[in-house]
Symmetry: C2
DNA sequence: ATCCTGATGTGACATTTGTCACAAAATCAA
DNA sequence: TTGATTTTGTGACAAATGTCACATCAGGAT
């Protein structure tokens, strides 16, 4: 059995084919077109998404200034949702939309919890995944605070070399917390 | 039974007194004096710490510029460690030291995992705690990137009103990613 | 009390980055 | 192809924040 999600879970919890098939049966497969929204501010957030194909961005809009801050990209092998709204069953404060045509696997909170209760392995997977996520977010925070615009840019290139040529520069600038113009000037020098 | 740690765990997983006593037996109580290090760069990180009393700071030192960035404070009811080194059994890249005389409960990774395996409740607690932590870190990141120095300062005051008069301003400046002087000028206006 | 150290406030100036305006280039749809 | 739209580059200037230097102030140790 060969599946992106299986490989992903097995980086933490090895699974038999039966176990994985059972897990997979709790997900819903979805195709979404470029520019379509997976999550929109104000709506309830029913799902957490695992990306099989394509690329998405998650951002918050500042109504006062009209600007947006992209806090996450998600390409193949990544999870994405409005975590807070999903987990607390509240409504979205973020927007998530597709930068390309996408294929995702969607999991409801009910099924997520069901899997956690039924399989210790899955709860463990969730626990470790969240812990790792925390660690990498902490590193990003550190980079954002300590690093200059140039440091951040170089760090991004090193970490996601493929994304740089896949995503419009203005989005990358937003992700890095610099203006589009500053980013443009950075990769001249 | 009344205990800071019990109350803390019960925000996620309710426990009988026996269950809590069993959990508690895996922790080691420690007292540490002001200015002493709980974790020092280069050393192995044996424990994760739950703070019963006192206040600590965790920071990374930039050897090039000689500056340090404080990425976390921890007072009563908070967890602190070098998460990456603790979890991967590698050596610390961060320093953690006491801003006041402290009392903490220390948990080894072995005992943490043992509790998770033996009690689904505890694994669930870890999972949810990490997820919440991720969410709040994401909010901090957003504030750091989108907000001006003043926004960040006001946000800090609103979130941790008690810490502001408990911690030297230079440390708070470091946590907020601004210079000591800029912070000083902020709370004039 | 008095010294000493660390914490804080403040002015002058440098630096980084943002903002605005517009041109050039690339992409997409008909 | 061709026109329209989006993306990217660049100059001039403004704004925010950092840096350095030094003055004050507060608290702890003797």
């Amino acid at each position: 059995m060969n599946h992106l999600l299986k490989d992903h879970i097995e980086t933490i919890s090895p699974l038999s084919d039966e176990e994985f098939a059972y897990i997979l049966s709790h997900f819903v497969f979805k195709k979404i077109k470029k520019h379509a929204f997976l999550v929109q501010e104000g709506d309830p957030v029913k799902y957490e998404y695992f990306v099989l194909k394509g690329c998405l961005k998650a951002y918050v809009a500042d109504n006062a200034t009209g600007k947006e801050f992209i806090f996450q990209f998600a390409a193949e092998d990544w999870w994405i949702t409005d975590r807070e709204a999903f987990f607390k069953r509240s409504t979205a404060t973020v927007n998530i939309d597709c930068l390309e045509d996408c294929e995702v696997l969607a999991l409801t909170l009910e099924n997520r919890e069901k899997l956690g209760v039924e399989m210790w392995k899955y709860e463990h997977f969730l626990s470790v995944k969240a812990y790792w996520g925390y660690i990498s977010l902490q590193k990003r925070l550190q980079m954002m605070i300590m690093g200059s615009a140039k440091d951040r840019y170089e760090n991004f290139i090193a970490q996601y070399p493929n994304l740089f040529n896949r995503i419009p520069k203005s989005f990358i600038a937003s992700y890095l917390g610099v203006s589009r113009e500053t980013l443009s000037r950075l990769y001249k020098s």
